[in-house]
Symmetry: C2
Subunit: 422 residues, 2 copies
């Protein structure tokens, strides 16, 4: 029996166990600050599989002084990182498997058909907050290690299993792991790519634009200047910057993506009285950063562009908008599509699914940006689950994909790290 | 000495007293629900002047069933109306003097140079919430009666002095006075017209438009539909309705007013996460109603116009906006510019100031709409103070105008009601 057949057989016979494991993780609502229980569960499993496990709460003091630290908090009590190392026999390439355990809040429960923390299974799908982003991917990682251990496979290279916190808030968990010295020849992050392979990923950061007007009574509104009307010019102006930036994107990995690096305006609020002319409107949004672009370059593009608003309307010459960068930020990342890990992953994908791998650039950021940029560890994103259910009510994952991903990852590990034959 | 000279002299010698009276009223912060003390002060003065005074809290139960009742509350404990009647000797025309005692809240105190409830005087101006809207006008009314009484003037027609509550919230105080049977041959309301005469007044009502989009992750924003972008189409669409309605306004009383009946959009809010495509935006505004227009006609114009949004963007055919009428509403009003009270007021204005009276249509509503429409009492608005400081920090009134207005009103009363010669 080939190793591939053995892995597939192992996955088939561990279906119930794997499903129950994901259910257990979904039932532990590991929103920010509440990750401990889920992390302890993972740490326990890794110890049982014989990995050398370290569990620690990131040091807020040390993180705070790091230029890439972004988080709404700097105390991580109750939010431990977990790293388990599976030492290789030597002479092979090492790999980091990185997944985050934090999930975003469930939002309005009234919009959920199932309890968001019940892990209910229906039609081959498991429902719940974090099912796709990314506890499903975490279970794929765990099944990968467990299958190889139980099948007696010994790898030449080290496998470093990372279950981190804070991905949803800017990556402080992975940053803490990097600051603790964890490095590898490459990294694999099973975020929900719907089994596509992402060597490149968009970065992003949040901005806030404040548009000023001049107040007046609504009955004589011509005496005022409506910040709502002026904000329409700003929205249009931002659209034009988005168009210019995207028309310059020639990377074939973005072929078919209508807006590779979007500038999303997510929030608008202004005025406080129906019969007054509003004197202020705030726009908040997310600016995409191209995989090879420096964050500072993108910031500067936006800042310069805002200065050109006065070409659209003289009002802005006297009353410029203010631009702030606030909240979250995700570092972009880029790995050469010719990188050996992509080749290995693609061939194993084809082996397992019979279909050609899809290689694209990611429309969103992951902790892979930090690993690639700061951790000297080229990170590739590949995992089960579909993005469009992430962060929304009725999030789910197709269980079949979770097991398929585990199978592909197990075979990738063997080929990447090397098999120690007996 | 002519009566005019006597009135002028009286005003000159009562300058300190009048200023102190306005100061006392401004120092009683008569915001909604807290009008009692200021109203008791007025009632006491009217009694001293020999008027038959009635003080009563409007009956919420009775008001609630009236089709023109608009208020955020239906209990008026602590908010009495005051009406004082000065019986004429007979054979003359009667006049209602109507002023509201309620003031809007002071807002952000940090933006006030003086304490908003101190009534500080500087450079001939008295500062404070309500100084212009409309305690200054109320003092003009009080000085008018006091001067005529002290000068021994006896009028043929009745004068009905009304100090009402709730004008700022839709006119429930004046409605209660109408429901209590008070009527006259005409009414004069000294709201801040900057001494212009307004036979016509714009009505207004508040609306809320909810624009729907479709949510998506900001990184793949092309999968969603931005309610912010769709709301820009709605704002533009409303502008076009405003243009159409205003280009049809040929009333010469609106000559020189660039937007006689504006549609103001005062509030916008939508989305709740910078990196999500917003699925909902709410617009709140104030729609002006022409003096001779029925409220229902204006509503229908807006409703029909919203249905035509789909001509601008097919999105609205499947996802129509919702339109609600909420909150406050002020009835429009129109008195024939040839009305005798206008002629009297104009001639007395010229007599006192040496300048020709300015007759215009008002860009905002007052309780005059209710008096004209429901109270069989044609109401004309004329008073001291300038609108653009009303409802804003550092509201003030020019004291000189307050005394001038009182002088003009006293002489108007004599001419309108008729003088009983001894």
């Amino acid at each position: 029996m080939s190793l591939q057949s053995k892995v597939r057989e192992w996955m088939r016979t561990h279906r119930e166990e794997g499903t129950a494991l994901l259910q257990s993780l979904v039932r532990l609502p590991s929103t920010q600050g509440r990750e401990r229980e889920a992390q302890e569960l993972v740490a326990g499993m890794l110890r049982e599989m014989g990995l050398a496990v370290r569990v620690w709460e990131p040091d807020g003091e040390a993180l705070r002084s790091h230029p890439y630290f972004y988080s709404p908090r700097d105390r991580f009590a109750g939010s431990p990182n977990v790293v388990g190392v599976l030492k290789g026999t030597g002479g092979g390439r090492s790999l980091i498997l990185n997944g985050h355990m934090d999930v975003v809040p469930e939002g309005d429960r009234g919009q959920w058909q199932h309890d968001p923390f019940s892990g209910e299974v229906a039609d081959g799908k498991l429902f719940g907050r974090g099912a796709t982003d990314m506890k499903g991917g975490n279970v794929s990682m765990l099944l990968t290690i467990q299958a190889l251990r139980e099948l007696g496979v010994r790898l030449k290279g080290d496998v470093i299993f990372q279950s981190v916190v804070e991905e949803e808030s800017g990556g402080a968990g992975t940053l803490a792991a990097i600051m603790n010295g964890y490095r590898a020849d490459a990294a694999l992050i099973p975020e929900p790519t719907n089994m596509r392979i992402f060597p490149k990923q968009q970065g992003s950061m949040w901005f806030r634009v404040t548009v000023k007007g001049r107040s007046a009574h609504g009955g004589t509104r011509y005496e005022g200047v409506s910040a709502i009307e002026k904000s329409m010019i700003v929205v249009q102006h931002i659209r034009e910057l988005e168009q210019a930036r995207n028309s310059a994107m020639t990377d074939p990995l973005y072929a078919g993506n209508p807006i590779p690096i979007p500038i999303n305006i997510g929030v608008i609020r202004g005025g406080n009285w129906p019969s007054s002319v509003p004197d202020s409107v705030v726009l908040e949004g997310r600016m995409g950063v191209a995989p090879e672009e420096a964050i500072e370059h993108a910031k500067e593009a936006m800042e310069r562009w805002m200065e050109r608003l006065e070409e659209k309307d003289a009002w802005f010459a006297k009353t410029p908008v203010s631009l702030e960068w606030f909240g979250a930020r995700w570092v972009p990342g880029s790995v050469d599509p010719g990188h050996e890990l992509i080749a290995v992953l693609s061939s194993q994908y084809q082996e397992v699914t019979g279909k050609e791998a899809v290689i694209q650039a990611s429309p969103w950021g992951t902790d892979g940006g930090l690993l690639t940029l700061l951790g000297d560890t080229p990170a590739v994103v590949f995992g089960p689950g579909v993005t469009h259910v992430a962060h929304y009510p009725n999030e789910y994952i197709e269980l079949e994909d979770m097991f398929r991903a585990a199978e592909i990852m197990a075979l990738t590990l063997v080929q990447w790290c090397g098999l120690e034959e007996e």
